[in-house]
């Protein structure tokens, strides 16, 4: 009797499973969609959770964000690529794993190996110092000091060989200044050590800046976009420099473009695109993103190539800045 009853449960359960498996062909999405995020917990992850939540609401399912940090974002990218191309896995395509790491020879894909959904957010960086600094008061003066004291300056770009490092190395190379980058696990800690005088300058993102504006002397905003300059209350930007770094648009910034696997069916991709576009247009979403210090982006999937292509070209062109810094540092030792 007991056995019979339990058998019936098995059959019922099996029926549910088969039914749902059959239904998945008919209607997308019928279950939770996961977003693979390439960084650890922090502000960038919160922003992705925010967009994922809105996008999930548009699709009628939940969209949890899975944090898979490691190897400058390539672990997340590889994890997402190993998933089935059924639209239930969306990649948080940050510039570092998507464009920069392939340039540095650490990954074998290009941005065009993926189908774009919609651009998500960008995040501008600046070079900042302390307000009570006595050795210099602006970027040009710091560069003069750096030239006179080769290898003396200590700065942090967050981690080694990341996008801010590449841009800062390029700027320093243009001025012929050799400085030592100090990698930090959490970017808040680099800012802390800048404030306490251990570092001479550091990359500062908008989030760091708005937390304690009076503490920083923003010497150079690493973007020529007027919006970025405005986020730092009109501090000088690379557009104001005498030298041309060859960087424009999204190239010197952090950004993410949500993408899916190349083999994802077109109708599924289309549904995801529509949902993400709707989510990115929502005023509440845009407002919340802006509060974290990120900029919501408006490019849709048709503009993927024309926006990301130049980033690849510009970053490839300056790839030697990091090598230059390494070699100059070795010479000094």
């Amino acid at each position: 009797m007991k056995l019979l009853r339990s058998m019936r449960t098995v059959v019922a359960a099996a029926a549910i499973v088969t039914l749902s498996a059959g239904a998945s062909v008919a209607e997308f999405p019928e279950r939770t969609i996961e977003l693979i995020h390439p960084w650890g917990p922090g502000n960038a992850m919160s922003v992705s959770q925010l967009i994922a939540k809105a996008m999930g609401e548009e699709l009628g399912v939940d969209m949890p964000v899975i944090s898979t940090p490691g190897a400058a974002g390539t672990k997340g990218q590889k994890t997402a690529m190993s998933r089935p191309a059924d639209g239930y896995t969306v990649f948080d395509g940050y510039v570092a794993p998507l464009v920069l790491q392939p340039i540095l020879g650490n990954a074998d894909w290009t941005y065009s190996d993926f189908k774009p959904l919609h651009s998500a957010v960008s995040n501008a960086f600046a070079i900042g110092g302390r307000v009570d600094e006595t050795r210099w008061s602006n970027f040009e003066e710091m560069m003069e000091y750096g030239k006179e004291h080769p290898g003396e300056l200590r700065y942090s770009s967050g981690s080694r060989n990341n996008l801010p490092h590449m841009v800062i190395a390029k700027v320093l190379q243009s001025y012929g200044v050799v400085a030592q980058n100090i990698p930090y696990t959490q970017d808040g800690n680099a800012v802390k050590d800048l404030k306490s005088g251990v570092l001479d300058f550091s990359f500062i993102n908008v989030g760091n800046y708005i937390q304690d504006k009076p503490a920083f002397n923003i010497m150079l905003v690493l973007s020529e976009l007027p919006g970025a300059k405005a986020s730092y209350d009109g501090a000088p930007s690379i557009a104001d420099l005498d030298i041309d770094l060859g960087l424009s648009g999204l190239a010197p910034m952090g950004w993410t473009w949500w993408i899916v696997h190349e083999d994802t069916p077109d109708d599924v991709t289309e549904k995801l695109r529509t949902a993400m576009e709707a989510a990115m247009e929502r005023p509440d979403v845009r407002e919340a993103i802006a509060k974290v210090g990120f900029v919501p982006l408006e490019w849709d999937h048709t503009q993927y190539d024309e926006v990301v292509g130049p980033v690849l070209d510009q970053l490839s062109a300056m790839g030697n800045a990091l090598k230059w810094e390494e070699e100059e540092l070795k010479k000094l030792r």
Binding site: R5, S6, V10, V17, S20, R31, T32, D62, P64, R333
Partner: protein
């Protein structure tokens, strides 16, 4: 089995660990160019130091055990040992099949097998318990915590 066999086993374990550290430093890390230089580039110095400390400590530990000459027999009934090995085997098999067959096809048999190893023999009751446990937990985690359990090649995911 005696305590000396176990000591041998654990010593072999640490020897392998230390060996791997040196092997990796001389192959992979050397090729990547991170096995020498200053603190910015040398990723090998610290693991090498730790491995040397482990090797030193293990040698001291072995010498102490040899000097004390202490050896004891470990009394474990064959039945109990069989159960433990069986449990590990079933669990390894379960984890191995999880990716392939998915959570929903593998969990109920795993639970059932573990109960069987424990000595339970009321098939109906065990089956019911196994089903309730595996689907109950799946429901809680998938429905309330948004966890997507492995679907396997059949893509079996229940939209609760």
């Amino acid at each position: 089995m005696t305590s000396r066999t176990l000591t041998l086993l654990v010593t072999a374990f640490f020897a392998i660990i230390v060996g791997i550290v040196f092997q990796q430093i001389h192959t992979s890390m050397h090729e990547q160019g991170i096995a020498s230089g200053g603190p910015y580039d040398n990723a090998a110095a610290y693991p090498r130091a730790v491995a040397i400390v482990i090797a030193g400590l293990v040698i001291v530990q072995i010498l102490m055990e040899i000097l004390s000459g202490h050896q004891e027999k470990i009394g474990l009934e064959p039945q109990a040992l069989k159960r433990a090995v069986g449990l590990l085997f079933v669990f390894a098999l379960y984890l191995g099949c999880l990716q392939w067959l998915g959570y929903h096809l593998t969990t109920t048999p795993m639970v059932f097998a573990v109960m069987y190893i424990c000595g339970a023999r009321q098939i109906g009751k065990m089956l019911l318990a196994a089903i309730v446990m595996s689907f109950g937990f799946a429901f809680v985690f998938e429905r309330f915590l948004n966890v997507v359990l492995p679907g396997g090649i059949f893509r079996l995911n229940i939209p609760w």
